[in-house]
Amino acid sequence: MTTVTTAPPATRTGGEAPAPAPRRRRGSWLTPLVIHTLLIAGAAAMIYPLLWMIASSFREPHEVFTESGLIPSGFRFENYVDGWTGLTYDFSRFYLNSFLISTLAVIGNLTACSMAAYGFARIRFRFRGFWFAIMLLTLMLPIHVLILPQYVIFQRIGWVDTFLPLTVPHFLAIDAFFIFLMVQFIRGIPTELDDAARIDGCGHIQIYLRIILPLMKPALITTAIFTFIWSWDNFFAQVIFINSPRNFTVPLALRSFLDQQADSAWPLLFAMATLALVPIFTIFLVLQRYLTTGIATTGLKG
């Protein structure tokens, strides 16, 4: 591990430094304009498909494949109602299920992964490098071959058709992605802080709680956002472990709308998919602000 030789972090962090006093240079207005145009064009490209999906949620089934514009020819609000009530249970139930699972997954990941990351980054234990490699290895096998033995394990302990297989593993740090992410973050925190705390008599637990965790906030927020969304979208595990419609998540419910031998109810699917975006988008919007408040370190100069 490289020893850090820098001065402690400054009190202000953030993105690009504020520009020094603007100097009048020819073409100085061109760059921001170009950048802005590119950004807006990029943003348009980002959301065009979504706008199309929203538009299609108001269409008739046969119009979905024939109209490609952004303005639907009619506004069938019934699609939203039919979609909401069209399955065995109301979508409110599916939303609650998805929400519960994803929230628990977030809590699990935040605690277990940060602890494991701290262990890998800051605690010297025997064969640490070996276990780190094993951790990375667990990332590399696809879920499709593992899911069958896992199903057997869960079935033996009676957890099938419950939320447990989708939540408990997160409390056991199964998401090596986030362990690795947090390790990278922690390695960016100078060890002088740890040493200073140790001199003051802190043990690992104190260092973890008082120093590392607060400094890791961006990593934690990122973990929260991604865990929530990925666990929400993880339809394959949901297909395998959840059988009863009463326990269905939103993605599973959406997939019920598809059938090759009947009207697939695409507009209803789009309507529900659009609605499904709302909570996850909101969560992102709310949390991303914390990404930008930056890290306020308390005076650790010198």
Partner: protein, 437 residues
């Protein structure tokens, strides 16, 4: 001290891991009844099927009727086609199957051969009154003489037409006697007389169902009774060439345009008004009907060019019900099965959605209240009674993969990566290889 405790921890963990490894092997040996979890104290049954919102709603109300009658709870587990088989595969391998499941002809043989399904002969004729179902259809669920699955409904090949597009091209609805060559000319004419992007027929080059019909008209089949190919590479080549020529002549969309399709019903030529004919099954007639404002016509698939050839059609069971071997309560499962297939009151909840109901009394009960599209569908199927041929032997387990190869090689030929002769030959070799494995 550190060393010992760590070793002990590792040792214990390895044991745990080894134990966990052993579990799937034990489970796969099927010596344990994991059904207790599913059944739950003599209470709920588990019934799984694939479907869509409409079918799910109908099935749920049918099941509810049965529950009220018998006082037994049923846990229903619908899913879409793809997810259903993923879930079933996992549950059967993990020894946690539902009590009643839907089955499909292409998988039956494999499930039966591996002992995954329960034989139902003990339950005939009470409560399974199979005499109400045409004998051929009942026998399609028989293997080595024992009955393993009962069909819920049946359907047959249907050539569906969009009569609005036909009218635009100034053509008439063909009757059941049109041959493949006449169909070719018709499709090309329609393609010429309609705007760009509208064709006479869909591109069915990669579809094995019309291919099967075409083979049957020549006295062949897809598979023999002992699971070998019952056709030659030359047949495949002729079939591919037929469609390549039609693409060339403008009678159907190109391979590229066809590859773009999602396969969803709304994305097909007839509902979109981009094609006059679609090759499909009779049970989607109602769906097509709902998807377009143009009138719909139905006829048999095009007939063989040699006079006197059989029409190639047969009554196919649309889907079956079967009881997995590991079911926790087979008696109740069979009772539910018989209600869904034979009990007029309960089965009529299901309607025509799964095909023409298999049992005569159920059909009669539904007859008065049919919608126009359902009547169309029923009339078509009944019109063919007595004319249809025997049910082909059940496909071997490798059929799914062979179908994938068929699609793949038809695309290779269609995109010009391989010559038609090569594509046909390579497909044929692949298919044989898969059957041997």
């Amino acid at each position: 001290m550190t060393k010992i405790s760590r070793r002990r921890m590792l040792g214990g963990a390895v044991l745990l891991g080894a134990g966990a490894t052993g579990l799937p092997i034990l489970a796969a040996c099927g010596d344990d009844n994991g059904g207790g979890d599913g059944g739950g104290g003599g209470g709920s049954l588990r019934f799984a099927w694939w479907g869509n919102p409409d079918r799910d709603a109908r099935t749920n109300s049918a099941v509810r009727l049965w529950s009220e009658k018998t006082g037994r709870n049923v846990g229903t587990e619908p899913a879409n086609w793809q997810d259903y088989w993923d879930a079933m595969t996992t549950q059967l391998a993990g020894n946690n199957p539902p009590d009643l499941m839907q089955q499909d002809y292409q998988y039956l043989k494999e499930y039966v051969e591996n002992g995954a399904l329960l034989a139902l002969d003990d339950y005939v004729p009470d409560p399974l009154n199979t005499s109400q179902i045409p004998e051929d259809t009942v026998n399609s669920g028989r293997f080595d003489g024992a009955l393993y699955a009962i069909s819920m409904g049946y359907n047959t090949f249907a050539l569906v037409s969009n009569q609005g597009v036909l009218a635009d091209a100034g053509e008439e609805q063909p009757d059941d006697t049109i041959t493949w060559s006449e169909f070719f000319d018709l499709a090309v004419r329609i393609g010429e007389k309609t705007p760009d992007g509208v064709f006479g027929s869909e591109n069915a080059m990669n579809a094995m169902e019309p291919f099967e019909c075409w083979l049957r008209q020549r006295g062949k089949e897809l598979y023999t009774a002992d699971g070998q190919l019952a056709f030659d590479a030359a047949d495949v080549e002729e079939w591919f060439n037929y469609w390549m020529e039609m693409i060339e002549a403008g009678g159907c969309p190109s391979t590229e345009a066809d590859a773009e399709s999602t396969g969803a019903l709304e994305d097909r030529g007839v509902p979109k008004r981009t094609g006059a004919f679609d090759f499909h099954w009779s049970n989607v007639i109602t769906a097509f009907y709902d998807l377009t404002e143009d009138p719909i016509g139905v006829s048999m698939y095009p007939q063989g060019d040699s006079p006197g050839s059989p029409n190639g059609q047969y009554y196919k069971a649309s889907m079956y019900l079967a009881v997995p071997s590991g079911a926790s309560d087979p008696e109740a499962a069979v009772d539910l099965m018989s209600a869904l297939i034979f009990d007029p009151e309960i089965a009529s909840e299901l309607g025509f959605e799964r095909g023409i109901p298999a049992a005569g009394p159920v059909r009669e009960a539904l007859e008065p209240d049919l919608s126009e599209s359902e009547r169309l569908s029923l009339e078509f199927v009944e019109r063919l009674e007595g004319q249809v041929g025997p049910v082909p032997p059940p496909p071997p387990g490798a059929h799914g993969q062979i179908y994938e190869q068929f699609t793949y090689y038809s695309e290779e030929a269609g995109f010009g990566n391989l010559s038609v002769a090569d594509a046909a030959a390579q497909f044929y070799d692949e298919a044989n290889r898969l059957l041997e494995a």
